[in-house]
């Protein structure tokens, strides 16, 4: 059964939205008209150019409000989401001890030329994130943090050395889809090297589960992820595999 949704501005379904953009033209009446045409060319109706700002002599920045004639069917929008129950530090150690009976091994790195370690550190380091202990702080997890600027081959080699159950990849730099290239390349390499049963997790501020799945990872984690969520996913996945 359909569930049509439209943008909600002032009233239900009015479709009112806000835009801002810059055109390489001097501010003035002509620039304002250009902004209006620009918005109309996007199919917007009832366009109101709220301001024309001189963002330099030959640039104008605009704020525009207009109605989008877009209607989506909410019922049709289904996206994979990480459904793991988030277990506590205690529960997780207990589960591993009881159900897996050996320590879980994870290797993490921020790959490519990306030098942002804070994200992966938040997941792996003792300290953890937002009061939630990092994976290094789990007696039943062996966590190896390779830091930043690690190349894909090196990461996989290390993972095999320590026979990792899961590989944790952080990608912060997204300019010109650096992260896509980089991660795709990693997965291909892993396939070549036949690393079938290792779990691949991708994370970063611009990552979500859907994107990660599309790139061939088992899961993706975005802004605000807590270490325990990650541990929960890994443990559950391992348990699930053991069952089958």
């Amino acid at each position: 059964m359909k569930e049509p949704i439209r943008a909600y501005g002032d009233r239900k379904d009015d479709g009112r939205i806000q835009l801002s953009f810059t055109l390489p033209v001097p501010a003035g009446g002509r620039a304002k008209e250009a902004a209006k045409l620009f918005a109309e060319a996007m199919g917007l109706k009832n366009v109101m150019v709220a301001t024309v700002e001189p963002a330099g002599e030959s640039f104008s920045m605009f704020v525009v409000y207009a109605n989008a004639e877009v209607t989506l069917d909410w019922a049709e929008i289904i996206v994979p989401e990480v459904t793991t129950p988030t277990w506590s530090w205690k529960e997780l150690n207990h589960l591993i001890e009881e159900e897996i009976g050996r320590r879980v091994v994870v290797v993490g790195a921020c790959t490519g030329s990306d030098a942002h370690t804070v994200g992966i550190d938040a997941i792996l380091n003792m300290k953890g994130y937002a009061g939630d202990k990092g994976l290094e702080a789990y007696p039943w997890i062996d966590a190896y943090n390779m830091g930043a600027q690690v190349d894909n081959a090196a990461l996989l080699t290390r993972a095999r050395e320590v026979s990792a159950d899961a590989i944790l990849v952080s990608q912060i730099m997204t300019q010109r889809d650096l992260h896509i290239e980089n991660s795709t390349q990693l997965i291909e390499l892993a396939r070549k090297q036949g690393m079938r049963d290792t779990l691949f997790l991708l994370g970063g501020p611009r990552i979500d589960h859907k994107l990660a799945r599309e790139l061939g990872f088992d899961a993706g984690f975005g802004p605000g992820t807590k270490p325990s969520q990650v541990a929960s996913f890994v443990v559950e996945a391992m348990l699930a595999r053991r069952k089958t």
Binding site: Y8, G9, D10, R11, K12, R16, Q18, S20, M48, V49, A50, T51, E53, V63, Y65
Partner: protein, 515 residues
């Protein structure tokens, strides 16, 4: 914030001057009534309803009494007389008055008989107001309110059901207070529309049913939030007293209500407004509702730097009139605003001085701090930043009620997302500067202190003039908001009646009895 070193003798003088100004109006007020006051009396007795084209029965009653020359004796007299003559209930009496034989022959019934017939009904009338107040206060005590400054937002879709949805969303995003803005120019019509409405311009009609719709939404929502939510509307314009009554029984928490706003910004007749504000405030006091005065508006028509003192003078006058109507300080939400032209050097310092000055002069009052509006532009990013400094002044000076600024102020009435951004932004500023007011001190030789002293002195000077010439002439020559309003000009003068010697109004008697 450490008190600014102002001269309290000047503050006392201002109070005394304002009190005298109000005192000299009281005689006029006591000798007159208005069509809206009389309609309010009828509503208080439970009269409700409208004919098919939405014309309220109370209006019809009052028109008939006026035709019959009986209005000067008070609508209550007619009601009492009809009850004495055998009407089953006030409603039945009113219907006869409105659509039946009308007031024929009532003059022959004695005031004593009429009064006698009203006694129990008067008790019921006040019980309705007191009951609603009790219900509000217990809910409020049970749930508690948010931290001050309270985040006050406006909804104004024109459709009461959209308003209710947005009120819920706002509460979920942290709002403490929700005001439903009225439809453009409702203040100029001399009756209160009937029923739930879904069409309005720049706002939604204020009707009893609309009040219910929003209050019900907030009642539900506040249980979820575990935080009492306050509802606001406008006791302003030609129906000031009636809306006060409807708000009282529908458990509203605040009402925009000002002794001069209608005169200055809606060109409503000064005499009419003075009578209406008095009666409406008597009702408001009984209901325990917080008024919000409209001095912020002055700075939209007059310059906020030059005329800052007119805000202070007007607040003293509003305070004096409110006192005479029995309002305690705790119910006086005096208004002021962050309206200085943003391109002026040190505007932030002047705003700080003014905000702190008001806070200091009116220590027990739930001061209402209002945002920049006139100097906002279509640049929503810039505008949102302006509101950030505004929020900072609000928390730094311990304002009680803060109407959140909207980044789209110069564009449209707030979209749902504009309101959300304002609430989130205010949360950030209030949290980041939570104890700023305990920390701040100002250079005693500096600009802030000097500005506060100057504005207070100018306010005192203006009050001296007003006191000397009297309120009506001051308003007539444009002492406030740079707007001139002659005593006999404007809308609604014909709705003012001189009370006869045997004028009957048991409701007013009861309201005045308390103080």
């Amino acid at each position: 914030m450490e008190a600014l070193p102002i001269d309290n003798a000047i503050v006392d003088e201002c109070r005394a001057l304002a009190d005298d100004v109000a005192a000299r109006m009281q005689a006029f007020i006591d000798q007159h009534s208005t069509v809206s006051i009389e309609r309010t009396v009828l509503r208080a007795y439970g009269i409700d309803g409208a004919n098919e084209d939405g014309h309220p029965i109370v209006n019809r009653c009052v028109e008939r009494l006026k035709e019959a020359g009986l209005l000067e004796r008070g609508a209550a007299f007619a009601l009492g007389a009809l009850l004495h003559r055998g009407a089953e209930s006030p409603q039945e009496a009113a219907e006869e008055l409105a659509y039946g034989g009308g007031p024929v022959g009532l003059e022959r019934i004695s005031v004593m008989d009429a009064r006698a017939a009203l006694v129990t009904h008067t008790v019921d009338a006040l019980a309705r107001i007191d009951g609603a107040r009790g219900a509000r206060e217990s809910a409020r005590a049970r749930l508690g309110t948010g931290q001050t400054p309270w985040k006050y937002v406006i909804v104004a879709t024109g459709n009461i059901y959209d308003d209710a949805d947005q009120a819920r969303a706002a509460a979920q995003a942290g709002a403490d207070i929700v005001a439903v803005i009225r439809s453009t120019a409702q203040s100029l019509i001399d009756y209160v529309p009937y029923g739930a409405t879904t069409e309005g311009f720049g706002g939604t009609w204020a009707t009893q049913e609309n009040f219910k719709v929003v209050r019900t939404a907030l009642d539900e929502e506040q249980e979820k939030q575990g935080r009492y939510l306050q509802q606001v509307n406008y006791s302003s314009g030609l129906c000031m007293p009636e809306i006060a009554y409807l708000a009282a029984v529908e458990r509203l928490d605040m009402l925009l209500n000002d002794a001069m706003y209608g005169i200055l910004f809606r060109d409503i007749n000064p005499r009419r407004t003075l009578c209406d504000q008095y009666f409406s405030r008597r009702v408001i006091a009984r209901a325990g509702i917080v008024i919000n005065t409209g001095e912020d508006n002055y700075l939209t028509t007059a310059d906020a730097v030059e005329k800052a003192h007119t805000v202070i003078s007007s607040q003293f006058i509003n305070e004096a009139f409110a006192k005479r109507a029995g309002l305690p300080d705790e119910l006086m939400g005096l208004g002021h605003a962050f309206e200085i032209d943003k391109s002026i050097e040190d505007s932030f310092l002047m705003e700080m001085a003014q905000a702190q000055l008001v806070r200091q002069i009116f220590p027990r009052h739930p001061i209402k701090w209002m945002p920049s509006t006139k100097h906002k532009t279509g640049d929503i990013f810039w505008s949102h930043r302006v509101d950030g400094l505004y929020d900072l002044v609000g928390v730094a000076t311990n304002q009680t009620i803060e109407l959140l600024g909207m980044m789209t102020e110069s564009i449209h009435t707030p979209l749902l997302q504009d309101r959300f951004a304002a609430l989130k932004g205010a949360d950030y500023v209030f949290t980041a500067a939570r104890h700023l007011s305990d920390e701040l001190r100002w250079n005693p030789e500096g600009r802030v202190v000097a500005r506060a002293k100057q504005v207070l002195a100018e306010a005192r000077d203006l009050l001296r003039e007003v006191q000397a010439e009297g309120m009506f002439s001051a308003v007539a020559r444009g002492a406030f908001a740079d707007v001139k309003r002659p005593e006999t000009g404007g809308r609604g003068l014909d709705g003012v009646v001189a009370k006869s010697a045997d004028y009957v109004n048991p409701i007013l008697d009861a309201l005045e009895a308390v103080s």
